[in-house]
Amino acid sequence: MIHKKRGYFFVLDAALGIFVLAIGAFLIASLYINLPEPSQVGLLSDDFLDFLSDTQIKDLNNPYAGIGGQLWKEGSITNRDNSLLQQIGEFYSKGQYSLAEKFIQNVSANTVPSQFNYELWIDGQILYPRNPSPEEIASKSKTALMLTSKKITFGVANTTESSLWGPYKAEVFVWQK
């Protein structure tokens, strides 16, 4: 009878050991899962700004902002070699802030995952969104992690007169909702 009871203690001891190991493994695994989050957001802001600065109007397949699109037909976009960021800078230099906001909204649709909020500033002025909602303002102030990417943008305002605009600081802020 005594020998049989000892067996229970060993089983209990082994179960306790497995429990401790399981808790430890869980803790380590959960640390690994949580930590990459900052770099993910960081990459998102870099990638978004790279997308804007590396994509040219002529390469954009977009009925609003691409070649032959609405803005092209209206004459608001004239330089097919402009990058999207340069086009935004050009709108800013001409004081066309509403057009810039709509342009950003259009070209960035589905580029940034919906669980993130983002802002685009040119030369220290917010162009997107020009009037942030109270929810966006609240999420920005409460977020634990917000990352930014910056670039300098410039361009030719008028090819006939060879006048330039810029150079402006373009800044993207991305944070989790």
Partner: protein, 334 residues
């Protein structure tokens, strides 16, 4: 009752100790922190590297093209205003493009047009230095060297700018000494300074390139050429290049010489002794050689040539051949 063995507790301690060691060794916090720091530094260095490359390969090239265009426009206005040639084109071009001055006087004040004000290479580099500090928190120094404008092809002006660059950040320093930047601009659309200074402002002609091939010329195409004021480049040309025209130099530039035909309806008097090929006309090459000139008409042969529209227009024998105007359309002017 036998005493219960307490050996099990040792197993528990052993497992806890192993767990503690494993947690200490594999704790991700320390590892990730190093990665984060390394990544942050890598991203910053990449960003500044892109900034330096962008400055050298994109910004300065764009600025060179834009300011060179403005410089040529300003020099044309200068020629028109002063009715004099640019004595030393290379020096004047560099001075206007870098500083907006000519012989130490602001060119805008001479021409009366605000073109170079806040638009010189020096102005733009200063703006970029400020943007670099604002954006990347880096100290940028740019030492501008000499600027040259030359022609190796008839329709483009080649530009070179020497500069040294130093960018300092808290992580690294980028130093590039004696960098030579090269680009070019087309001359089409600019006024021809030869007309501006010789016609005393009464006749200007913009550079437009003729699309006629050298072996396709005939009297009809010559008429269009004259009417439209277009320019042509002949192989081993005897005419001056575009930039030579600023200093009223009419000697030949075999690589880059260009020429147009002077419209007799635009000058006074219309009838002058000279070949109406622009550089020959303005430097009066044939003023005492009327026997070598031909009116482009031949009433005896029943051909009016260009006389109906361009009365008194004359060409020398060499250009009669070049424009393929045959003898049935030409008679000696004297």
């Amino acid at each position: 009752m036998a005493k219960i063995s307490k050996k099990g507790i040792f197993f528990t301690f052993i497992s806890l100790t192993i767990m503690a060691i494993l947690i200490v060794i594999y704790t991700p916090q320390a590892d990730i922190t190093i990665q984060k720091d390394t990544r942050a530094e890598r991203v910053r260095i990449e960003s500044i590297n892109n900034y330096v490359n962008g400055l050298e390969n994109e910004f300065m090239i764009t600025v060179m093209k834009a300011t060179a265009q403005k410089t040529i426009v300003s020099l044309n206005l200068y020629v028109n205003k002063t009715q004099s040639s640019v004595k030393d084109f290379d020096a004047a071009f560099a001075e206007v493009m870098l500083n907006g001055t000519i012989d130490n006087a602001a060119i805008d004040s001479i021409t009366g047009k605000k073109i170079m004000e806040n638009n010189t290479v020096s102005n733009w580099t200063a703006r970029f230095i400020e943007a670099g500090w604002d954006t990347y928190n880096v100290n940028t120094s740019i030492a501008l060297g000499n600027v040259t404008a030359s022609q190796a092809t008839p329709w483009h002006v080649s530009l070179t700018l020497k500069m040294s660059l130093d960018v300092k950040s808290n992580l690294a320093e980028w130093k590039r000494d004696n960098v030579t930047l090269k680009t070019s601009i087309g001359i089409e659309g600019f006024h021809d300074p030869l007309y501006l200074m010789n016609a005393r402002g009464s006749y200007s002609n913009r550079i437009k390139i003729s699309e006629v091939e050298f072996n396709q010329w005939n009297i009809t195409l010559a008429r269009e050429h004259l009417k439209n004021g277009t320019y042509v480049h002949w192989q081993n040309s005897d005419g001056p290049s575009f930039i030579m025209r600023f200093s009223n130099t009419t000697t030949n530039s075999s690589c880059c010489g260009i020429e147009s035909l002077v419209n007799p309806n635009m000058i006074s008097p219309e009838d002058q002794i000279g070949s109406y090929v622009d550089y020959l006309f303005w430097n009066q090459t044939y003023i005492s050689q009327c026997t070598q000139l031909y009116n482009i008409t031949n009433p005896a042969a029943g051909n009016i040539g260009l006389w109906d529209e361009f009365r008194f227009f004359k060409l020398d024998i060499d250009h009669l051949t070049k424009y393929n105007i045959t003898s049935e359309y030409a008679i000696r002017s004297c």
